[in-house]
């Protein structure tokens, strides 16, 4: 039994949507395929009729400045984001995340769109994009639409993408301005290739000793990628010091809901770690913005 009947390589987003929606049986998009191919070959996903390969679509693999935003195609491999000078300049948090996902071989083919599309609450790419204030462009039969990234996530593993109809096309991020910077950090089992126990990203603007603007994301801190709005409010417009940091942590602990995952970590351990992780992440970005 074949895992698919037809494999197509469209050259444009419109062709890709057409291929998805017109397939005579179940159809799936593929980019890096590092999860999907395992799911298909190990029987966790039933065989499909059509696989739509997105990696030859220029719009989905490019990384460039568009106006006052940085645009990253959803089918761009992680290594090619982490090594891109524009990404290094404007999206340090994302670069750091893309350098930690899985192992080197996987990063060479796995894509940012794949990382986000799974809608997992602690995906490293998702957490960094959330803190960076990303918007996502989605293409479907009715055309394209652009929404704030958090609106994509409905629950653990559940996204607002219409299955078999819609695609993640790419991500728009604000450019780094003078005295703004971002950072991403995570805690994982001490092994080279492992899922995060806890991750954190932030983007901030510094006005001398004051945190002028701040955005923080933490995973897994709830059913969807957690934007730590309470912690942000505790820091915004305040001097960055031990007292405000402590208030921010209290606020984060009020907002986040850490759970025990049987094979990785207990909730207690995550509650213990998050303070140090938040501090390290904020300090890294604060130094960069100085």
């Amino acid at each position: 039994m074949n895992l698919w009947q037809q494999y197509v390589c469209p050259a444009s987003v419109a062709e890709a949507v057409q291929a998805l929606t017109s397939a005579p049986g179940p159809a799936l998009p593929i980019a890096g395929g590092t999860d999907l191919m395992l799911d298909l070959s190990q029987g966790r996903h039933p065989p499909v009729h059509t696989i739509v390969d997105l990696t030859s679509i220029p719009e989905m693999t490019v990384l460039e400045i568009r106006g006052d935003e940085l645009y990253i195609g959803a089918a761009r491999p992680l290594t090619r984001i982490a090594r891109d000078p524009l990404a290094v300049r404007h999206a340090q948090a994302l670069v750091e995340a893309c350098d930690l996902i899985a192992g080197p071989q996987v990063r060479n083919v796995a894509t940012l769109g794949g990382n986000v599309a799974h809608a997992l609450p602690a995906a490293d790419g998702t957490i960094s994009l959330t803190a960076l204030g990303a918007e996502v462009e989605i293409a479907g039969p009715a055309g394209t639409r652009r929404i704030p990234l958090p609106d994509l996530f409905l629950g653990p593993g559940k996204s607002a993408l219409k299955h078999g109809e819609e695609l993640l096309v790419g991500f728009y991020l604000p450019l780094t301005t003078y005295h703004s910077a971002s950072a991403f950090k995570r805690i994982m089992r001490p092994q080279g290739v492992a899922l995060p126990i806890l991750n954190c990203a932030c983007r901030l603007e510094r006005d001398g000793g004051v945190m002028a603007e701040i955005r923080i994301a933490v995973g897994p801190g709830g059913p969807t990628p957690l934007r730590a709005t309470e912690a942000e409010a505790a820091l915004r417009g305040k001097p960055f010091n031990a007292a405000t940091l402590s208030e921010a942590l209290d606020a984060l602990l009020q907002q986040a809901r850490f759970r025990t995952s049987a094979m990785r970590a207990t909730a207690d351990y995550r509650y213990h770690l998050v303070g140090g992780l938040l501090k390290d992440t904020l300090e890294a970005a604060w130094e960069r913005a100085g």
């Binding site: 192992g103 089992r189 970590a265 213990h272 140090g276």
Partner: protein
């Protein structure tokens, strides 16, 4: 002086393995080959009421579906025949003998999730999998037994009611001296409870193989193992064949570590090949490998040791409870090794010990590098470090005051056969730590720029028998042929001994070359086959350099004598017989259980992040007495590999089961060390105290470097942070709990 023995020559199997020419089980292929899939129980304790294979059999492309009824003698086992080949009703025992009732023999019971219930053979692997999923099995779940301590209690549900009225399947005892009188002399007593976990072998190559019928009607099984001749015996027994009707040949073996001592795919492959008269192949997935074969025994160990203020050990009392899992496998022998190594390489005049193995519905406890000694060493060496601390003595000095020697008795009441080199390896490890890394004391140091981390060194030793124990008549066969006319053109070495990746065949070739005076490229190895080859014994117990080395050396010497006497070709066979050993007395353990021991000591540096609880192994100095390094590069390879495997055991690996089910059945959830995790350095200090009975004085090394690492890391964590952690693995959460942070 030797020319080839003792040289770090490149491995003779390196080229084929590096270029991909070498064929492993999964690479095999034959014309007309069919594919097999196994239906595993996927439930930990249940009676198989009925199996309906009709839908599977009706599928186009399916050639055979076999269940319990199809196995001529539905039982096997390396020690005891306590495991059904296929669990189910209607099992037979020989051609005309049904079991008096299936229930009586328990062949219709599945006792762990990896028990096999049916096999399907089909045109393709995918079809076989599809048909497997069409088999309908009706189970009647039975009460679960997963906690060995509870399983020991009277009235507990029995895993093997057909064997006896208790789940206790092993009870070894040591009664040496007068333990009460010993404790009366003790001025310092240290007590501890230690818990050691399951470990997965995680060999690179999952279980795989091919069986076919040869021109002479024999069933030939090509599947990696560790001992061709016991595989042959077990296959013949279960299929009710004469031993000569079964031929076992090993393709290349992608790691074993003890996990291939017990059967996995061999019997069912042979069964299907016999039924269908066609070649049949199977390759297990990583997941199947992880729940389908046995694991290192988890144990709970209670220890109470006493010493005088002068730093002399006077008494020890230990109790081990080991989870044997669903079947015996080699649990009796593994626990025998725990029993004989349980007070370490030290002399204690008064010892009482009880070592229990208990059947449960968990994965079977199996052979695994160290074979019961690592668990004992974790307890014994931790006890030593705690006693040294309580006595205010340096841990190295305290060990030196209590060393076992040729004149002192082990717990089994007899001295170790010499040479005893524990003092040399301890001194070598401590001296290297001092000279290379200025380790003067086991005190904490900080790391610049990392305020939450702290480092320290730790120390431990270990010892382990070389070769089979307890009265087994240790033997190993070889044949050597010398071809040529005036000059030797070709030396052919026949040996069934298993090259599991450790380098055995290179070592044997070096030995044959040394004896016959040829270069290594003139030696050809013919290996790992039961046809026309005598028994070599297993690739286990660190025994092959000693045992197959002596066999090849003896055969080479005899053939070379004939060559010098002008015989052409010059051919000699030789079976090496090891010095005799004796079984343990049932009540006291008194015995001469082994003919040789090897000794190791390690100093390790560890870094603990007190914020995250993460433990990093920074450096390891490993001093191992191998008698004589036949190939020093391979000895270093064994030391480095042993250290990293033990690092996984101590720090990273965390095999999680719940109610008999395996939660960590993939390498993405069961994390073994990668290149990112290994220590910055492993300094191998190869000590050579020759054993005159070994070939060129060689003993063995495979298991040695594994033994001291976990207790040495525990000691280093203590020295860095002030807390003892007596449960492996040292996970971040366990460290933080010990530190009182969570």
């Amino acid at each position: 002086m030797t020319n080839i023995v003792g040289k770090p020559l490149p491995r003779i199997d390196a080229f084929g393995k590096v270029t991909g020419e070498t064929l492993y089980g999964g690479d095999l292929s034959m014309p007309g080959m069919l594919h097999m899939k196994i239906l595993f129980a996927h439930r930990p304790h249940a009676r198989v009421v009925s199996i309906d294979t009709s839908r599977a059999e009706a599928l186009m492309g399916v050639f055979g579906v076999y269940t319990s009824k199809d196995v001529p003698v539905n039982e096997y086992g390396l020690q005891w025949n306590d495991q059904p080949v296929l669990c189910g009703p209607g099992s037979r025992y020989g051609e005309d003998h049904a079991y008096s009732t299936a229930e009586e023999k328990g062949r219709d019971i599945v006792r762990f999730v990896g028990d096999q219930v049916a096999v399907v053979v089909a045109e393709t692997e995918a079809l076989a999998a599809q048909a497997r999923d069409l088999i309908e099995v009706t189970y009647e779940d039975l009460p679960l037994v997963t906690d060995p301590e509870a399983a020991m209690q009277p009235g507990a549900t029995l895993v093997h009611p057909e064997i006896g009225p208790t789940n206790i399947c092993v009870h070894d005892k040591i009664r040496k001296g007068d333990v009460e009188a010993g404790f009366a002399q003790a001025e310092v007593i240290v007590e501890g409870e230690y818990r050691v976990p399951v470990q997965e072998h995680a060999y690179l190559q999952p279980e795989a193989g091919l069986a076919h019928i040869d021109d002479e009607g024999r069933v030939v099984v090509l599947a990696a193992g560790q001992w061709t001749h016991t595989d042959q015996k077990q296959i013949a027994h279960a299929l009710d064949l004469h031993i000569d009707q079964v031929r076992v040949v090993y393709p290349a073996i992608g790691g074993a570590f003890g996990g291939r001592e017990d059967m996995s795919v061999q019997i069912v492959l042979a069964l299907a090949a016999l039924k269908l008269k066609r070649p049949v192949k199977i390759v297990w997935s990583r997941q199947e490998s992880m729940f389908g074969h046995g694991k290192r025994h988890p144990m709970v160990i209670q220890a109470r040791w006493g010493a005088t203020k002068g730093g002399k050990l006077v008494a020890a009392e230990n109790t081990f409870i080991a989870d044997a899992g669903a079947y015996m496998y080699t649990t009796n022998k593994v626990l025998g090794n725990s029993t004989i190594t349980q007070t370490g390489p030290y002399f204690i005049p008064n010892v009482k010990a009880d070592v229990y193995g208990v059947y449960t519905n968990n994965l079977p406890g199996a052979a695994f590098r160290g074979f019961g000694a690592p668990q004992a060493a974790f307890m014994a060496e931790s006890q030593m470090n705690k006693l040294a601390e309580a006595l205010g003595l340096d841990p190295v000095e305290f060990r030196m005051r209590n060393l076992i020697s040729e004149d002192l008795t082990l717990d089994v009441g007899t001295p170790p056969p010499g040479p005893v080199s524990i003092g040399q390896v301890i001194t070598a490890a401590a001296k290297t730590a001092k000279e290379r890394y200025s380790v003067e004391a086991f005190t904490p140091t900080t790391v610049h720029g990392q305020p939450s981390t702290v480092r320290s060194w730790g120390f431990a030793a270990g010892f382990k028998n070389i070769g089979f124990s307890f009265g087994y008549k240790e033997n190993c066969w070889s044949r050597v042929e010398i071809h040529g006319d005036g000059e030797i053109e070709d030396v052919v070495v026949y040996s069934a001994s298993a090259e599991v990746g450790q380098g055995n065949h290179t070592v044997l070739a070096q030995m044959a070359a040394e004896v016959t005076g040829v270069t290594l490229d003139r030696v050809h190895m013919v290996t790992m086959d039961t046809l026309n080859m005598g028994n070599a014994g297993s690739a286990s117990a660190s025994r092959l350099t000693f045992m197959s080395g002596n066999a090849v050396k003896g055969a080479s010497e005899r053939a070379f004598e004939k060559w010098q006497a002008e015989e052409r070709p010059a051919i000699a066979e030789y079976t090496y017989l090891a010095p005799e050993t004796t079984p343990m007395d049932k009540e006291t353990g008194y015995s001469m259980p082994n003919f040789a021991y090897a000794y190791a000591a390690q100093a390790v540096e560890v870094e603990v992040d007190t914020e995250t609880g993460q433990v990093r192994l920074v450096r390891v100095i490993s001093a191992d007495d191998v008698g004589k390094a036949i190939n020093p590069a391979q000895v270093e390879g064994q030391i480095e590999g042993g250290v990293v495997q033990a690092q996984g055991y101590a720090i990273q690996e965390n095999f999680i089961t719940r109610d008999g089910y395996v939660l960590t059945d993939m390498l993405s959830t069961y994390l073994i060390p990668t290149i990112w995790d290994i220590p910055e350095s492993v300094d191998s200090v190869v000590v050579e105290v020759p054993d005159e009975r070994g070939p060129w004085g060689a003993k063995g090394v495979g298991e040695l470097p594994y033994l001291p690492l976990a207790p040495a890391i525990a000691h280093a964590i203590r020295n860095a942070t002030g807390v003892w952690i007596s449960e492996i693995p040292f996970t971040p959460e366990r460290v933080l709990k010990a530190l009182g942070r969570i």
